[in-house]
Symmetry: C2
Subunit: 399 residues, 2 copies
């Protein structure tokens, strides 16, 4: 009969969507130029022209060749192109067998979670975290365990992860460059995390005869959106890593739903994980990644992301907010600024910001208190025009 959990998840008004709706109403009332909507994560940079060129080339081919089903894991030539691009960048030796094309990063993560958890297992997320992780973890029948990031740097806190690991821990999800904080996890930080996981695996194997290592799910939709920081290749630091990727941000194709799961086929266990990813994709109703955009990925796999516009926005926003006395996490990547709310209650702070037509997202949506997320994937004019409002808001709090 009607499934109450699914009903509740459909009815739940996403805070971000609610802000977006409010912004549009307010724009209609007082003019779009007077409302400063920082709630969204929709890339403001257009898809590169190579995408259009790729589509036009495909339109010259017989349509049944372009629009037909591909095999469930994706077209072999597309998977090979992805593997070879990774090999060029990271000195790896992947082949198409390591790559499973998906219907975007959401599908990458939900298919991976279904594959590597059994009902009752635990999955650790690093708070603040992308709120859909909890939904997908619970859909897999697993339990979402929140572990706070270091609250100064918003790096992973390896010792806090170590403390949270239990005999039921199946996976840890990380997301760097991070949504919502913009932090990029350093190589040193990830090495410490890998150490923690390896120690836990060894300990569990000895004590429980438990052969199953903890899987590190590295969700990387923002890998290409960085401002000079190194984004280490996680499988080179920890063997049992599954990488989830999407072209939503790197090629500005969020609506087209195309990405991949990479499970390096280095062991019998890894081969079983990849087979279970395929089984989960099948079970959830994914048939194949959209075929035309698989071809776009093949053609554009090495097209660089245009981060210059985001970098300019970031500099503009951070310089101004810094002068006004706001504190924030220096964003190494993604297009979010994580700003400390000027009172402990982030929702109250956002209410007060709303009086100045400023619309950031309160940190409660991401599982922590006292901060806001300011998405700067907007036109630079929006940031420029918003600065007096940020200034007045700061003054309001006596800064």
């Amino acid at each position: 009969m009607i499934n109450d959990t699914m009903y509740a998840r459909g009815a739940e008004s996403s805070v971000i969507r609610e802000i977006f709706t409010y912004a549009n109403e307010r724009k209609a009332q007082i003019g779009a130029e007077n409302v400063f909507d920082f709630s969204l994560g929709n890339p403001s940079v257009p898809a590169p022209d190579e995408v259009r060129q790729s589509i036009e080339r495909s339109l010259k081919l017989p349509p049944e060749q372009v629009h037909g089903y591909t095999p469930a894991p994706g077209a072999p030539e597309v998977r090979t192109a992805v593997a070879e691009s990774l090999n060029r960048r990271f000195g790896t030796n992947y082949t198409m067998a390591d790559v499973f094309m998906t219907v975007g990063a959401a599908a990458s993560v939900s298919c991976t979670l279904g594959a590597v958890t059994c009902p009752g297992d635990e999955v650790i997320v690093i708070a603040p975290y992308f709120p859909e992780y909890r939904v997908w973890i619970e859909t897999a029948g697993a339990v979402c365990i929140e572990v706070l990031a270091d609250q100064e740097t918003f790096q992973v806190d390896p010792e806090a992860v170590a403390t949270a690991i239990t005999d039921r821990t199946a996976a840890v999800i990380i997301d760097s460059p991070n949504n919502p904080t913009g932090a990029v996890y350093t190589r040193e930080n990830l090495e410490k995390l890998a150490d923690v996981l390896e120690r836990a695996n060894a300990e569990r194997e000895v004590r429980l005869g438990h052969p199953q290592p903890i899987v590190l799910i590295s969700d990387e939709p923002y890998r290409e959106i960085t401002y000079g920081a190194e984004v280490p290749w996680v499988p080179s630091l920890y063997e049992h890593t599954v990488v989830c990727y999407s072209y939503s941000k790197s090629l500005s194709l969020p609506g087209e739903r195309v990405g991949w799961v990479l499970v390096p086929q280095v062991s019998e266990g890894a081969r079983r994980v990849m087979t279970a990813v395929a089984g989960t994709a099948r079970s959830l109703g994914f048939v194949c990644a959209p075929s035309l955009f698989q071809r776009v990925v093949m053609d554009c796999v090495d097209v660089p992301s245009d981060v210059a516009a985001y970098a300019r926005n970031r500099d503009l926003l951070t310089q101004a907010l810094s002068q006004m006395g706001y504190t924030y996490v220096e964003p190494g990547g993604a297009f979010y600024l994580w700003v400390r709310a000027l009172e402990p209650d982030a929702e109250a702070f956002c209410e007060r910001a709303r009086a100045y037509e400023l619309l950031p997202v309160p940190s409660n949506s991401f599982g922590v208190e006292g901060w806001v997320r300011v998405g700067y994937c907007v036109a630079p004019e929006v940031i420029e025009r918003s600065l007096p409002a940020w200034k007045r808001l700061a003054e309001d709090y006596g800064l």
Copy 2:
């Protein structure tokens, strides 16, 4: 830890895929023209030129307008175009609120099943049936109950459905024009089924105070592929119908993954179902239907399907097999011929057919014994060249 159910579903070699692989190997050995692969359901008719024109128009727009996220239920103008097209065809009064755009028919069915079942509920399928129904039913935590179709006409057997209904029956899935049999359920047949469901609803309401009606899931990817038969509009016959649709066959876009769920918003219960469909889509990791192909749907919503090629194949195949003494179900729609195997064991029959390079799919894959599915969505030359082989196979069995 690794989920054994998901692993098994990934490892399970689909019979159809296995035949396809065998066919390709055999073609390499003896020449493609000598192997008669009737295993597939990939449309052989190319996508209409209007699809290419629509994509070219979209490529002239700013890319962020074309490739950005749409709202989760789909772009409003696309949902409106779908509703209005249905209204023109079926005299209905749908609006965008009744339509949820999906990542193809598989997603339509899996999201509907998640919405209208709770763990332990039962879902009735009409055997022979599309084998993924079982996978999606079980993924939702429900139980798949097989009810045989009438074994002469392959219409629904309403009394058999009535017998199978229990207090846990949440839904019945029908699929007309049918895969695998090609049967199109008549208006009379569907009216009888509606009567059975309404009687069961009334009886359960009185006895259990059970307000929840049985949902009829009408999966209609082949609606447009018919040879003169009427395909009744099921919601006009039974109120609690959810229609699942895809453009895979009608516009020959199977790889692009775009379709919809229609839940007519006629009652509070129906509104709850639609909300739960949205919640299930979110839970499984569907974010929105691919955005460029949503626009294609909007532009091509009334483009007729080119069924002439399938009709010619059907006539060619049925006339020849009939003369040779085969019996089959007269196909009213889809592009499959359901042929009685010439011995009780369909798999043994397929083995023998393989000696003549004929590759149909045994009925066991669809939950029944003694038949084979012959997919005639192939080039007409394949059918023509295969006829001597069908003849020799018949002679082999003494026909």
